[in-house]
Structure formats: C-alpha cells, structure tokens
Amino acid sequence: MATSNQLKRVDFIFRNENDWEKILSSTLKKKPQDLINELISSELKGRGGAGFPTGLKWKLTAESKEKEKYVICNADEGEPGTFKDREILSRVPYKVLTAMAICGYITGAKRGYIYLRGEYKFLLPELNKVIDEFDYYCKETDLDFKISIFMGSGAYICGEETALMESMEGKRGEPRNKPPFPTQSGFKGKPTVINNVETLVHTFTIFKYGAKKFYDLGVQYSRGTKLFSVSGDTPKPGIYELELGMSLQDFVYEFGDGDTKAVQVGGASGFLVPRKKFKDAAIGFKGKLTGISLPTGGSMMLFNSSRSMFNVLDNYLEFFREESCGQCTPCRVGCQQLLLGIKAVKRGEKPASYLDKLLRLTETMQYTAKCGLGQSVANSFSSIVENFREEMIY
C-alpha cells in the first residue's frame, strides 16, 4: 500500500454543519439510480469492519421487487476498543437519520431502525428528541419514512447483522445461515440494508460533497476516511478521523508512547501487529499492493513493553468464550478450548507444541464457524501466538 510520511487528519464526520434539511431535500430530488451510481463510484466500503461495498448493498436491495423493505443502522458497537459510533450518535445524529432516509428513498424502504447497543441506553433521551424532530420534518415534507430505536440487551453477537435481526424479531440473537443475505431476506424476511453508523455518515458526506471528494482521499481499494478509536498505552487516547491507507509505523509515531510493543488493529477480532512489522502494515482493506493490509472497524489498541501478550490473549479469549452465541460447534467449543489450552500450556500441563494444535484449531474455526465471530477468533489468536510464542510458554 501507499505509504505516506504523515497522518492526514480529516474532519468530515463531526463537522457540525446544521444543513441536513437542505442536503436531504436536494438529494431526494435526484434519481435513485444516479445516487446509487454516485455511491458506487465513491468506492465506500462498510465501516463496521467487514468492508462490503456500500453502493452494491443498496443497489441489491433497491433491485428487489418486494414491497416491504427495511433500513437498519447497526449501532450495536460492541467490539472491544471501539467507541466511535457512540460519539457519532451523540454529536451528529441527524447525519445518520438523513442517510437512513436517503437510503430508504433509494431502496424503497419506508421503515428505519437504529439497533442501539444496550450499554448506550444513556443516549436514548437525546436520540429520541432528534428522531422526533426528524419525524416532524418528514411529516411536513410528506416524506414517508419512519425511524425508531430498538434497544439491544448487551450481547456482542447481536452486532452480527443476522443475529441483530433475529434479536429484533424477538428471537434469540443467533446468526443465520447465509445465503440468503439481508439484501434478499433480512429483517422479517424482507430485503434489508444494514449499515454501520459510520458508514451511513460517510454516505451523507458523499451525497453532500460528491463521490469524487471522498474517492480522492485514501488509497486504492481503501477510499475515504475512517474514524479510529485509539486506546491503550497512548498519551492521547480518543477518536480521530484519518485517511485510510496509512502505515502503522506512521500511526504509532503519532499515537505511541515511544515504547509501543504491538498494536491490536480491529479489536479482539482483529490482528495484533508486533513492532517489527509496523512498517509493512497498512490500515485498509485487502488490495493487491504488497505488505500487510489490515481492515478494521476502527479499534486501535496500543500496548507497550509493560504488557504481557499472554494476558492480552487470555483477556480476548475470556471475552469470546462468553460472547459466542453458542450455537455452532467450532465457535462454542473452540473458544473454550483455546482459552483452557493457553492456560494449560502456561502452567506446563500441556507441551509447547500444543500451541500448534490450537493454531490448527483456529484454522478450522476460520473455515467452519457459522458467522464472523467464530471465524475471526483466529485473527488475534494466531497473530499473538505466532509473534509472541515465548510469552505464551514462559
């Protein structure tokens, strides 16, 4: 990936412009097809972490002949180390609502839901106020689109889009088999666009400033900007909007404390990059350029040399063991085995070579787990065990 020598701070997302009514009314005057093309040409990819092209998602839903469709804003921000969506919803919520309404206009959906993380209940009063205001506007302008909030109850797995829909339907939050994908059969079995909070705000930016402005930022395959939730051993934790494609070296230069040993990119389900690989690692979606590319939902956790990587991994695995929905074998049993396994190696009850068996297990989990949770446990596990093997054993 392209390397730059300095981080490019950008300010789109939190720019408080107070012109959402104007943006909404002018956007709704354009043809849906043109808007989709605009979105596709921006090359915006989903900001929840998986990176599915947003324009394509909207297009697929728009093409469906079903009458009943839904737009869902995924605000179940549960990945350890991310806290950007909370900030968006408290500072620029109207951008999210506007983007949802535009999405409804394009796809033909008349109902929108914000699936709000259980722990974000404190956002509810303010958010409801904004929604009321938005509702009033919609009524005044004869816009047939209604947004409501659905409260989550604190399960990490409900951030997985199909588990989220199960939860909204009043069922146990368990991921569904795919296919069918939500664009064909989502909430209540109807075509559904489900986007991360940040993704929706980026569409607002694109509809306001045009796709080119967005496209010109970032690098090939990873266009535009991204919010990063910076935490851990850093003198300046917080939320930063940065251009995609930066090298991890530059990031650590900016945010590290001078003693950064490793950075966890993408939360517990992401990758741990050790110091020696900082310069080869770029933050962005997989492309054809050389080096490691790290897709992320925006969680950046820095660790300095005072941290035990065993403890870090132990902590992640405790988390996964508890937060797996428990329905599929590889994830339910696999997470327990990984956690018990590294503890057994640490205590000398299993030989060091047992780590290799566990690495093979993560491979199986990656191939066979039903959803992204089980599939991505391998990311942190293998990147920590492979790079800090001694810390696991001694």
Binding site: A155, P179, R321, E323, C325, T329, Q336, T368, K370
Partner: protein, 596 residues
Amino acid sequence: MSKKVNITINGFPVEITTGKTILEAAEEQGITIPTLCHHKDLCVAGNCRVCVVEVAGQNRLSAACATPCEEGMEILTNSLKVRNSRKQIIELLLAEHNADCTKCYRNGNCELQTLASEYKIMTQDFIELVPLKHFSIDAYSPSIIKDDSKCIRCQRCVRTCAGLQGVNALTVAHKGDKMKITTFFEKAMRDVVCTNCGQCVNHCPTGALVEKNYIEEVWEAIANPNKHVVVQTAPAVRVGLGEELGMKPGKSITGKMVAALKRLGFDSVLDTDFTADLTIIEEGTELLTRLKKALVDKDESVSLPMATSCSPGWIKYIEHMFPEHLKNLSTCKSPQQMFGALVKTYYANARNIKPEDIVSVSIMPCTAKKYEAFRPEMHDSGYRDVDYVLTTRELAILIKQAGLDFNKLEPAKYDRLMGESSGAAVIFGATGGVMEAALRTAYEIVTGREVPFENLNITPVRGSDGIREATIKIENPVEEWAFLDGVELKCAIAHGLINAKSVMESVRAGTADYHFVEFMACPGGCLGGGGQPIPTNPEIRQKRAEAIYAEDEGLPIRKSHENHEITKLYKDFLKEPLGEVSHHLLHTKYTKRERY
C-alpha cells in the same frame, strides 16, 4: 417444470434441481455427508458444522445442509481440508460430551458415537470440558431423563419441541460456554409444559434425552413367583419392533412378538387392541349421545367438537394450553388405562387372581404413557391400574437380554379374554385410525349399514397431511337415530401437536364446525411415537403406516363392535356402554395446568 443447475461433486458433473441443498444433491449421487444437527423432520439449523464441504473458489467451507446448490459450483465433500476440519469438529464435540459410552443408554445407537468411530477418533487431545462443569441429570419426570453432560447442543430437541410440537418446553438458554438446552427457569421437565411426548427423545442424536426405563422392575416382577404379570401391547408396537431387531421398516411381526413375550416369562400376553375396540364402543356412544343432546335436545352445555382422548401427550398438551376446552375431550380413558383398570377387576375376577398380585405391564410406542400410568386418577381398580410402561425400544432390550433369536420364533396367538383385536383397533396406531375405526362402528350403529367405502377402507381420513378433514353424510338411519338423517358428520384429524394447536385455535375462535376431531400428539400418530425405534423420519413412518393398514385388511374382524371378547365383556361385566361400571372404570377427568 423445475429448473436445473449444473454442478460438480468431487469432480463429477451432475444436474440438480434448483433449490436443493448440497446435502440433498450429494445424497442423490449416493454420497453421504455426515450430519448431526440435520434431521428430515426439522427445519435447517446448520449449527453442528459436521457437514461442511469445500466449494471451489471459497476459502471458507460451507455447511452442506444449509447451502443451496448454485450453477457452476464445484463441490468437494471429502477433500483434505474438509476431512481435517470435520475431524476436528468431531473432536471438539467429544471434548464437550460425556463420552462414557459403555454406560450410556444409547450405546450402539448414538450418532456421535458412530461418527467418532467412522473418523477413528482414537485420542482426546483437547481438554475435556465435562469435568469442569456442573451438569445435573433431570430424572424427575416419569417419562424422560435429560442429561446435559451428553448434550451436543445440536438443538434438534428444541426444534422438535417448537417446530413439530409447538410446545416449546425445551429452549436454548445462556450463551457461549454456558449455552444449554433447558426449560422455563431451568425447572425440571416434570414441572413445565412438557407433554412427555418423547419426540425430543426420538430426535436426539445422543443419550442426552432418553426415556426413563423400567426394564429391571419388569424383570423383577417376572421373576417373582407370587406375582401374575400381565402384558398388553399397543397397536403401533407390532410395526415398529422389527426395526430395533434388525429388520427393515414396515414389517408387522405380531405373532413373533407375542411368542417372544411368552418366552420372556409374562404370565399372560394380551392386547391393547382389545381396549382400543372398547374405546370405540364407549367413545362412539359418547359422540352419538353428545350429538343427540346438541341436535335434538338443543342442550347448549354440550361441547362440540368432541376430541379424542387416546393420546396422553395430547391430553397433557390441552391441559396446559387450552384448559378452557377440556370439556371438549371425550371422557374415555386411553386404551392403555381402560386395559389397566379391567385387568385388576374383570380379568382378576375371571381368572380368580387377587388384584394385588397382578403386575400390569404395557408395551407402548410412547413415553407419555409412562406419565399417564403415574397419574393419581389412574387408580380406579383400587390399585395402580398400569404398573410399568415399557416403550417399543425397551421391549427390544428385553428380547435381546433374554437372548431370543427373534427370527426363529414361531408366531403365537394372544391369550384369551382380553386378547382379541379387530382391524379397527390395529389402525389406532396410525393417524386417522381412531377416526376410521369410530366411523366404521358409529355409521353402522346409526344406519344399520356398513360405511360406504370399498373394503371398509375410509381413505379420506388416511394419509400424512398434518390436518385432514372429512365429511360423511348420514342417510336413512335406523329409527333410534332418525334425528341424524341428512346430517353431515364433520370430522378432522390432526397429528403432531403443532397441527393440534392450529385446529384448537380455530375451535377457540369458533371458526371450526367439526363434530369429532382425532388428535394425536406425535407426527404420524402412535407409529411415529416417542417410544418407537430411532431413527424416525417421514419415509419410515410411511412404511410403518403401510404395515398397519395391511394388518387391518388381513384380520377376519374389521369392526370394533364385532369383537367377540368385547361383546362378552359387556354381557358379563360392563352391561352397557357409558353404564355405571364403565363410568367408574373407563372414564376419567382432566386437570387444568399452568402454561410454562
């Protein structure tokens, strides 16, 4: 015309009907992909992940049971990647499973055990999870034992309880490592809405859900020289037992079964069919009486439709879920309990045996019958009417333990007094059978003529649709029943409690104008009962049904009211249908229960 897609399976090109899953496509080609959570009776879950296959171009493996075939797919069902992953998943399941196979009730008939054996899992590298957790065994129910340490979380029982039965006694609770299959507030199965139907037992791949067995108790009774052990066999047992003894589904082996029971040492081998015929007389009379009260006397206290009461799973279901409709139930006991009450009265008298010396055993295709026998109201003989209920599976265990070579047994006949059966009684074992038997008798009582169907086969009430309806018009009745002239008797049949639920909902809503409804808790009726051989699926149940109807056609007596022993019973003991003795011994009351 159904569209086709072209795919390759393990390099061989094949054409598959659009919409079929990879699992179905492979099966068509004679390739077995192992499964655990998949079951033909149930909706797709895709959670055990044992059926994963490789699709060219995809890094991840796909669950064959949940992935539809798409044009151009190149599927590998046995690549190295698939094998390694699958093997590791089996290892994971074993690490979570109390794999104490030699001490397991399902030893030898466990899908996980079979899979472990096929994949030659010889070592256990993973850390065993069972000793780290606190599992308890729920053995409070008289019907079902639930052992969480053997559960592999495939959720077949949950989907059975919800999808097939609409009961939802078993559900998933908690998440992650604590995820488990449990009941409302983790109460014992005895204390929740569970109907004891045993469909979860029939669909469980392992030994996590099994029937409570009374094998040792029965052996002890047989060995006791002071006890006279009487056994009755339900209609559906004779078409299921063979499967447990190595035969193909659909073999009726009544004679050999009777011979085997005699060799096991039962003092008297009798037939539940006898009381099935008796049920028809009592229940048929009850129906006609209700019709008279409703149509002639305009008595509004009479509840129609009248619902059958032979299936104890259904009884417990309606007690929990539709208690306001208990008055719709026929007051007749089930054939098993009629039999039990008669054995310790009528039979004891006739044979001159003290009722307290009689041990009454029944062989049932059913786990709910175990609960039914335990009901406090089932003591009308002055003793517990039925002492032990064994399932078809338990009978097979007795036969194996006794070392009987079933194939070499010469067929034998039931003992007399309560051993005669009409064809009408045999078909009680199939969904629609009670209805057909009742119609054969009731129609004839009312009109003096046989039912107007070729060879007495009332085909409109047969079949496997979940809910079936039939109408029979009554013309030229005999004088006593003249008020029924021109009446169209409207009947319905529902099997599987999910179907019973939808019929009952229309009854509750007042949109159903049936006179008589047959309800069976289990899919297929008793032949698909929770105590029948495992596995069960629609094809197997179809075969059992064919065997039952063939048995019916082969019997000299086809109508309940022509059963000679029944005639004798009324003459010597009961005097008349719905009479005083009947009322005391053969009829019962029902209890409203909580809905959790």
